[in-house]
C-alpha cells in the first residue's frame, strides 16, 4: 500500500501542473473540537476560475445517513488505487485520523458510533449555503451537475423529477449530464429539457439510434474570470444495457472515445482555453478515457459514487470525484493562463448537516415540494434494530432485508435484487418510514416479477453481472455492484475471466447445491424487460416490514470472495 504522500508525489511528478488539496487539516480542527461552517468552507482563493461540482444526488433533498463501502475492489490497473481503497487503508492513504469527521464521512469504519457524534450529511438546503458562500467569494464560479439527479426518492418518483428540477434551477446549476434521468422516458426528459431546465442538458455521446447522429448538445461555452471555458457533457455510456432500453428507444449512447476527442479538438479550435468534461462514465472509465483522449484539463467524474479527497492526475488532466447523495461538493480553483491550465487548488467539502446552516430560501422550497406528500412520506412502517446500508460490491443489510421481503411476499426460493449504488442508510433504532423504503427502491420499473429459472440460468446471470464489475478493462465495466441474492449463496473468484468466476452455488435454507438443470422459483425487481408484471418493490418491502414491526438483519456470509 502506497501512502497518500507517495501517491500524490508520484502523480504530480509526472506532470507540469502544480496543485494543492485542502482536505487534510480537519483532524486538527476536530481535535480542537471546533468543526464550524467557516472551517468547512475555508478556502484561499486561487487562480482565476472556480468550478463547483455536485453529482449523483439521487433526488436526496434532505440530509441522509450514507455509509461508504466496505468493499470496493479494483481490478487490473485500478487495483489498490483510488477509488478502490476503503476503511483503514483509505485513512492511511489520505493521512486522515481515525474517528475524525473526515474518517466518518469517507469510510465505513465505526459508522454507527461516529454517526452519533457527527450526524447526517447532505441536504440541498445546506448545499445551497455552500454554493452561495463560494459565489460570494467567487461570483463567476461555474456550478456543474454530473447527473443521477432527478431519480431516487418518493417525491421525485411522484413528481416525475419535477421537485428536483425546481431545486436545481433554484440552486443555479449551469449545465448537467444524465443517467437515471432517462428512466422517466424520452418524452418526459424532452419536456423537462425543453420547457423546465434553466441550463443545458449536455451529452456528446447521446446519438439518434436510427441514424447514429448526435442528438443532444455536446458542449457549452462559458466566459468566466476572463477565460473561455468549454464544458463537454458525457452521459452514462451503458444506458440501454443497464436500464430499460424501451423507455428511450430513440437514443444510443456508448463511450464513443473518438467523438470525445473530436469535441475536444472542436472546442479548442473555437478558442477554448480550459476544457472541462462533465462525465457520468464512472471513475475507472474516466481514468482510461482521459489517458487516451488528449486535451481535457479537468474531468468531473460521476456515476460510481466515489468521494476522493484529492484530485487524481492522469497526464495533465485532473479527475475530481465528488461522492453522492449530496454528502459532498467539490470546489476547484484553477489558474488558467496563456490558453492552458497551470495549476489547481481543490477541496472536497463535506456537507455536515448539523454544522452547515440550511439556506432558508432553499429549505422553504424543499418543504413546499414535500408538502403535498408529507403524510405519505413520513408514515412510520416499522423500526430497525440493525444498521441498514446498501453500498458495497456484495450484499448489504438493506438488500438482505429487501431479498427477505421479496422471497416471503412472492413465495420464491431465490430473490434477486439489483446491485445499484444509490440508497441511503438507516441507523439502529431508526424508524423506517415509507420515504426511507423509497430511498432504496424508487424507480419507474420497480415491478417484482416471479418466474422459474434453471440453475444454469442463475449462474449465467451471476457471471454476466460479475464481469460488469471485474472485467479488467474499464471500458467493459458498467459501474454498478454485484447483483444481490436471497435464499442462495455462491463463491466468486474475481481474478478469473467471465464464465469461470462463480462456483459453489447453494440454496441457503438447506445447504443443497444448486443443480444447473433444475428449475427454481425466483423473484426479483428492476427487470429491464418491457411488460414485466408484479407488485411494486416498495409495496412488497412495506408489507414485509409491517408484518415484522421491528426488523433485525444479521450479517450474512452468503458470498465467499476470493482472488482479490
Amino acid at each position: 500500500m502506497i501512502t497518500r504522500r507517495e501517491f500524490l508525489q508520484a502523480s504530480v511528478a509526472a506532470s507540469a501542473i502544480y496543485g494543492v488539496s485542502g482536505f487534510g487539516n480537519w483532524s486538527k480542527l476536530a481535535a480542537q473540537q471546533a468543526l464550524t461552517q467557516d472551517q468547512l468552507l475555508q478556502f484561499d482563493d486561487f487562480g482565476n476560475v472556480t468550478l463547483i461540482h455536485i453529482t449523483d444526488i439521487h433526488a436526496q433533498l434532505k440530509p441522509v445517513w450514507f455509509r461508504e463501502p466496505e468493499w470496493n475492489i479494483g481490478v487490473g490497473e485500478a487495483k489498490g488505487v483510488p477509488p478502490h481503497v476503503v476503511g483503514r487503508d483509505f485513512i492511511q492513504m489520505f493521512n486522515l485520523k481515525p474517528q475524525s469527521p473526515e474518517a466518518y464521512a469517507l469510510t465505513y469504519e465505526d459508522f454507527v458510533a461516529l454517526g452519533k457524534t457527527y450526524g447526517k450529511m447532505g441536504g440541498m438546503d445546506r448545499v445551497a449555503t455552500v454554493v452561495k458562500a463560494i459565489r460570494a467569494a467567487r461570483p463567476e464560479a461555474l456550478l456543474l451537475d454530473g447527473g443521477d439527479t432527478w431519480h431516487g426518492s418518493m417525491t421525485s418518483f411522484l413528481t416525475k423529477g419535477q421537485d428536483v428540477v425546481n431545486v436545481m434551477n433554484a440552486l443555479g446549476v449551469e449545465a448537467m449530464t444524465s443517467h437515471w434521468e432517462w428512466t422517466y422516458g424520452t418524452e418526459r426528459v424532452k419536456e423537462i429539457v425543453e420547457t423546465q431546465l434553466n441550463f443545458p442538458f449536455l451529452g456528446a455521446n447521446i446519438f439518434d439510434a436510427e441514424w447514429d447522429e448526435p442528438a443532444f448538445e455536446p458542449y457549452q461555452f462559458f466566459e468566466r474570470g476572463g477565460v473561455k471555458i468549454a464544458v463537454i457533457g458525457q452521459a452514462f455510456p451503458y444506458m440501454p444495457i443497464a436500464n430499460p432500453r424501451w423507455m428511450f428507444p430513440e437514443y444510443s449512447f456508448g463511450i464513443r472515445e473518438e467523438r470525445m476527442q473530436e469535441m475536444v479538438d472542436e472546442v479548442r479550435a473555437a478558442g477554448a482555453e480550459l476544457v472541462v468534461c462533465l462525465s457520468h462514465n464512472g471513475f475507472d472509465v474516466d481514468r482510461k478515457m482521459v489517458s487516451r483522449v488528449k486535451g481535457i484539463d479537468v474531468i468531473l467524474t460521476g456515476h460510481t459514487h466515489d468521494a476522493v479527497p484529492e484530485p487524481v492526475l492522469v497526464g495533465e488532466t485532473i479527475l475530481i470525484a465528488s461522492g453522492s447523495h449530496g454528502k459532498f461538493i467539490s470546489r476547484v480553483d484553477l489558474d488558467v493562463r496563456d490558453g492552458r491550465m497551470m495549476g489547481f487548488r481543490h477541496k472536497l467539502i463535506p456537507i455536515f448537516a448539523d454544522v452547515i446552516e440550511p439556506d432558508a430560501e432553499m429549505a422553504g422550497l424543499i418543504d413546499a415540494e414535500r408538502a403535498p406528500f408529507k403524510d405519505q412520506l413520513e408514515e412510520k412502517i416499522g423500526t430497525t434494530e440493525s444498521l441498514l446500508y446498501r453500498r458495497g460490491n456484495f450484499q448489504g443489510t438493506w438488500d438482505d432485508l429487501i431479498c427477505d421481503a421479496v422471497r416471503s411476499e412472492r413465495d420464491a426460493q431465490i430473490a434477486l435484487s439489483p446491485g445499484v449504488r444509490w440508497g441511503a442508510s438507516l441507523m439502529p433504532g431508526d424508524a423506517i418510514t415509507r420515504e426511507d423504503i423509497h430511498n432504496v427502491t424508487s424507480m419507474t420499473y420497480g415491478q417484482v416479477y416471479r418466474t422459474e429459472m434453471t440453475g444454469e440460468m442463475l449462474r449465467t446471470i451471476l457471471e454476466d453481472v460479475a464481469d460488469n464489475l471485474f472485467n479488467t478493462d474499464p471500458y467493459y465495466q458498467q459501474g454498478g455492484d454485484m447483483v444481490r441474492v436471497g435464499g442462495m449463496g455462491f463463491a466468486i473468484d474475481i481474478s478469473k475471466p467471465i464464465g469461470s468466476r462463480i462456483s459453489e452455488m447453494t440454496l441457503s435454507d438447506t445447504g443443497e447445491a444448486i443443480d444447473a438443470a433444475r428449475s427454481y422459483t425466483v423473484a426479483g425487481w428492476a427487470s429491464v424487460n418491457e411488460g414485466t408484471e408484479g407488485p411494486q418493490i416498495w409495496d412488497v418491502v412495506e408489507s414485509h416490514i409491517r408484518k415484522q414491526g421491528t426488523v433485525s438483519v444479521a450479517p450474512t456470509n452468503s458470498v465467499k470472495v476470493t482472488g482479490i
Binding site: 440501454p240 449512447f253 446471470i461 429491464v528
Partner: protein, 141 residues
C-alpha cells in the same frame, strides 16, 4: 401473479441473440481461418492503416453498428469470430471510390471479436479487431 418468462426474457436483455445461434448450422460455415486464408491468399496481416469502430458493449446484440475505414484499400472483409457463420461482408472498392469506408449493422450471437481485414492495392493486408461484449446488462450506479 406468476409471469412465465422465456429464457430470453429472464435474462433481462441482450442475450436474446443466443437463442437464435442454433438456427445456423455450424457444420457448413467456413471458419475464420478459412475465410482469412481465402481473403489474404496466405499473406501475413500487418497493423495500422485500418480503423475499426465498434461499441465496447452492444446495446442490442441483434443490430450492432460497426464501421471500418482503410484508406487505399481495394477490399475490406468483416468477420464476427464468435458467430456460427463468421462471414459478415466483403466490401470492394473500385478506383473511383471516394473513400474506403464501410458501415453496417451486424448480429452478434455472444461476446466476441469483430475482425476487419483490408487488402491494399499492392496486395498487402492489414487487420484490426475489437471485442464487442454482448451482455444481459447490470445495474448502474
Amino acid at each position: 401473479m406468476t409471469m412465465k418468462l422465456s429464457r430470453r426474457d429472464a435474462l433481462w436483455a441482450g442475450l436474446g441473440g443466443l437463442a437464435s445461434a442454433t438456427l445456423a448450422n455450424p457444420m457448413f460455415a467456413a471458419t475464420v481461418e478459412e475465410l482469412t486464408a481465402g481473403f489474404t491468399g496466405g499473406a501475413a496481416a500487418g497493423t495500422g492503416g485500418i480503423t475499426l469502430t465498434a461499441p465496447e458493449i452492444a446495446e442490442n446484440g441483434n443490430t450492432v453498428p460497426v464501421s471500418v475505414s482503410a484508406p487505399g484499400a481495394v477490399a475490406i472483409m468483416l468477420l464476427a469470430a464468435g458467430n456460427p457463420e463468421p462471414a459478415v461482408a466483403t466490401f470492394t472498392f473500385g478506383p473511383a471510390a471516394g473513400s474506403q469506408t464501410a458501415a453496417t449493422r451486424i448480429r452478434l450471437a455472444k461476446t466476441q471479436d469483430v475482425i476487419a481485414l483490408a487488402k491494399m492495392a499492392d496486395g498487402s493486408i492489414v487487420q484490426a479487431q475489437a471485442t464487442v461484449k454482448v451482455t444481459i446488462g447490470g445495474c448502474g450506479g
